[in-house]
């Protein structure tokens, strides 16, 4: 069994509010693992503690309690950050730099230089389809382009883990589709992807495993199948089914005691159902 890419154990993060002794628990005893090579999605509404968790994993924040490790290294360790590529939500890079200069800057920060860096920049610009805008300053980039150059930036040093914070927030549907495609390509190339989102449809499409976080606590976690599976229900996808075949199947089911057809077609929003369910349940718990 290989080392987990991210290992968060009993993570608690408390913020003090001003000088008074008031405080807010942003993350509450959270534990989860992101296995090497998988796409893991942490989902939850705004303010649920996703970004805080991410910042602790990135070493931008210290845990109040518990730990976060990246490939076995403490998240505060500078070596851990060499393994991570990070794309923040709505990234703003230096507007005065061009796309290629931005990648060069981040590459140099990772100790890259010379032909290797040049080749890598070319490769990444091609990957994110920004070759045509390589020499344009970022001030003139659209939001989708910024997100893509951000993604390229996160990959510059060939990290093992890519962390994406709301990767498609504020991007139009076409741009959003491009980014989803890129994430899937990353997984195919062996990157571990850890993403945060509140856009469930997107998570459902790309993630191998999903954790649902609410008010700083992990509510449910598992593979997509496990999460949306309904134990006493089975769905079947049939290709080239004629109306006659469907009628026959329906007939067969009706003939069995207790069995019935609940729904026909895809359950596109099942994750969303689950999510809302959890949200309602935790609200009830609180009251």
């Amino acid at each position: 069994m290989s080392e987990p890419a991210v290992e968060v154990k009993n993570l608690t993060k408390v913020f003090s509010l001003g000088l008074k002794k008031d405080y807010v628990v942003a993350v509450d005893n959270l534990s989860f693992e992101v296995k090497a090579g998988e796409v893991y999605g942490l989902i939850g509404p705004n303010g649920s503690g996703k970004s805080t968790t991410m910042k602790v994993v990135l070493g931008l924040m210290a845990a109040s309690k518990g730990s976060a490790k990246v490939f076995g290294l403490d998240s505060g360790d500078i070596r851990a950050r060499n393994e991570i590529g990070f794309l923040p939500e709505n990234p703003y890079f230096y507007k005065h730099l061009s796309g290629a200069e931005t990648l060069r800057f981040y590459g140099k920060l990772c100790g890259m230089k010379g032909a290797a860096l040049k080749d890598r920049i070319g490769e990444l610009l091609k990957l994110v389809d920004l070759e045509g805008a390589a020499n344009r300053r970022l001030g003139g980039y659209s939001k989708g382009m910024l997100q893509r150059i951000g993604l390229a930036q996160s990959l510059i040093q060939n990290p093992r883990l890519v962390i994406l914070d709301e990767p498609t927030a504020g991007v139009d549907p076409v741009g959003s589709r491009q980014i989803r495609d890129l994430i899937m390509r990353l997984r195919d190339e062996g990157y571990t992807v850890f993403l945060c989102s509140h856009l469930l449809e997107q998570v459902q499409e790309v993630c191998d495993r999903v954790g649902i976080i609410f008010k700083g606590r992990m509510r449910r976690e598992g593979t997509l199948d496990e999460l949306i599976e309904i134990e006493n229900q089975t769905s079947m996808t049939i290709e080239n089914a004629t109306p006659e075949l469907i009628a026959e199947i329906n007939e067969l089911i009706r003939s069995r005691a207790g069995a019935r057809v609940v729904e026909e077609g895809h359950s596109r929003t099942s994750l969303e159902h689950l999510f809302i369910q959890i949200a309602e349940r935790s609200r009830e718990e609180k009251s």
Binding site: S2, A5, A36, G37, V39, K55, L58, G59, L60, M61, A62, F71, I78, R79, R81, N82, E83, I84, F86, L87, P88, N90, P91, Y92, F93, Y94, H96, L97, E101, F105, Y106, K108, L109, C110, G111, K113, G150, Q153, S154, Q157, N158, P159, R160, I163, R177, R180, D181, M184, R187, D188, E189, G190, Y191, T192, E205, V206, C207, D208, L224
Partner: protein
Amino acid sequence: MSDTPNAPAESAPRTTPRGAGKSVPIFSIGRVYTIASSTVTQLVRMKTFYFLLAFALVVVAVGNFNIPATPAKELSMIKKVAFGTMDIFAWLFAIVATALLIPKDVEDRTLYTILSKPVRRIEYLLGKLGGVLSVIAISLVAMYAICAVVIFSRESLFVAAEYDSMKASGQYTAAEIEEQLSLIQQQGLRAELGIAVLASFFKASVVAAVTIFLSTFASSSLFTIIVSILLFLIGHAHHMASSFWLDESGNSVVVQMMVKVIKILIPNYQLFSFSEGIVQGEAVVAALVWQMGGLTAGYLVVFLLLSLLVFVDKEF
């Protein structure tokens, strides 16, 4: 449908996870250099150097004032205006650029992407400070070159005119003419003026280090700029204040304590104004310049360490 980009995750081909990357040095001058040079690029692309044009205009204008002054006096005035302007540029730029750049990185979240790379926070601070100081150094050298040209051309003109008129009067010996010309040359272009530029650079370095320290905990750029300027003014006055309030008996203990606290907490910027003496034509004492350089280095190290103390735990 299986070849569409929307294919379900399970159906995609999988490869083995990627291997570990190369090791990371604990501290890297290369990373500091990268951040510093990016800061220089940023400031240059913010059109900072346009200031040099304005400076050139001021110096040339002062050089051509038609005032009934002696050549030496006129040269001295050109020098004072030029070096005074250089000094203001250096410290003001140090405050504004330093106060703007770091909070801007935080606000724009550029800092997230930088610090999520294998970059130490001290490297980031050093890089930013290095970038600002490089721009100041480049500007000072350029301004010095501009005023050297103006001073030298005026000086040559004055020397030639003086020589001709003294010669024509027939009243003076060659040695006396030489003496008179050396009076002008004393106020002209001399190597010591380079030390005056260095003095302004020392001052700007300390100002920038103090501003970096302030910006690690300040909530806004405006706050940093205002407090830095305030400290700058107090830092010039506190010797005067302490000689005025501490030496005079009859001042309350509270006032005396306050003056002492200010003296200990706020840098003594007045010391760094020794360029004024050099510009006035006083002789430079090399040992003192070295000591001032050492003091500047001390300020830089201490204020960077203090900045790091606050910055290293700062959460974004």
